[in-house]
Amino acid sequence: MNRELESLDAVFREMPDLKVEHTGPRRTRIQVEADALPTLLELLKGRAGYLHLSAISCVDWPDTEEFELVYHLWSYQVSNLISAHTRIPYDPGRYVSVYDLHAPAVYFERDIHEMFGVWFEGCPDQEPFILTEWQGPPPMRKSFDTVAYVNDTFEWREYQPEWANDPSGGKG
């Protein structure tokens, strides 16, 4: 078993400024710089068999005006889940696409673009996917106030209080 872990540590040794933290028996958390992430993915894929990119998630940090992209990778060889965290600033909100390394990335990036507005350079398709009729700003940002939007856009059902005690709505 340690031979596989050995290959994983070889990767970590090769990239100096990684902050690796084994958070569980088969879970590893890596904090990596934005520009170093693609090389990390390539190394993991080549050396340690991390073929499976199961998801890319995005966390919005409004106070430091940063997006945190988390790449969840799994290797059947090492059977260890890596979540690589990286931070990108708000204003350009652009990052490079890892589509050429992992094909499923196109849908995760498309989703993040739709929900957070991050533009992934090189991603083949970033058209609206779920919110096809949406005209507003990217809704999952913490800056977007859903309740205000809902109150502004939709009307509510007006209730007569006496319905409470006569559920058939007066028809008996």
Binding site: I130, W134, Q135, G136, T153
Partner: protein, 249 residues
């Protein structure tokens, strides 16, 4: 012209009072059979679809009252919306509703269709189903049990039998209002493949509000204005939508 659909009961094409005795007998038979043979198309939008199998099959067996599940809207009488509706799904629901034929009924299953349910604060779900398509019955509950569903079906059958369930005509008579509501969500160039106003004219179900400022947006309905002798109003200005924050490309 009152907006209550139940008053103007125009059966075939002539108002009820002028119908001959034979016409009234035929309609009585038709309503009798219509109530006892309802084909259900359940549009599994959300979590409610799982309530239908027990209702249809051996545990509660709706075939006892002549109801059959049907696959396409063309053959269905009842459209069962079973769960929350996102804006994208609503567009398909409206298309499906318009493809359904003749006396059609909509039953909203679950509180999500009544007031948005537990997704009330979501930007994507709609809150009031009857703003977009006329709804006959609502079943409160998250998710209601088959007994409740059966209860509503029996109530609807009774109203059909008495010839009261005419909400579907409301869609033709106040199409402009419905279209306005839909355009608020889908944008002003939204149009389903079905030519609703043409059908309204064909079946003499044109009301005061069939054509109005909202239908003026759509070029396809332009010829109907002069056909019905209505001057084409200036297209209604849509409510200002939240400004589109340009994402840097």
């Amino acid at each position: 012209m009152s907006t209550d659909p139940n008053q103007a009961v125009a059966c075939r094409t002539v108002d009820a009072e002028e119908r001959s005795l034979l016409g009234r007998v035929l309609d009585r038979i038709a309503d009798h059979c219509r109530a006892r043979s309802l084909f259900v198309l359940h549009y599994c939008t959300g979590c409610g679809a799982i309530e239908l199998p027990p209702t249809m099959t051996s545990r509660f067996d709706l075939e006892r009252v002549g109801m059959q599940p049907m696959v396409t809207p063309r053959q269905a009488d009842i459209l069962l919306i079973t769960g929350y509706l996102s804006v994208k799904t609503l567009k398909r629901v409206v298309m499906t509703y318009e493809q359904m034929q003749g006396p059609k009924y909509v039953i909203g299953l679950g509180s999500c269709t009544i007031n948005g349910g537990m997704y009330w604060n979501s930007y994507a779900t709609i809150k009031l189903l009857d703003r977009y398509i006329p709804v006959d019955n609502y079943i409160a509950g998250c998710m209601p049990r088959p007994e409740a569903i059966q209860q509503v079906f029996l109530d609807l059958m009774g109203r059909i039998d008495r010839g009261e369930a005419q909400a579907w005509k409301d869609y033709y008579r106040r199409y402009d209002w419905y279209l306005g509501q839909q355009q608020q969500l889908f944008g002003t160039n939204w149009q389903a493949p079905t030519d609703v106003v043409g059908e309204a004219i064909r079946y003499r179900l044109v009301g005061e509000q069939t054509l109005g400022s909202h239908t003026a947006h759509l070029e396809r309905y332009a010829p109907y204005y002069d056909q019905l002798g209505i001057i084409r109003p200036e297209p209604a200005r849509m409510k200002a939508r939240p400004q589109l924050e340009v994402v840097s490309r």
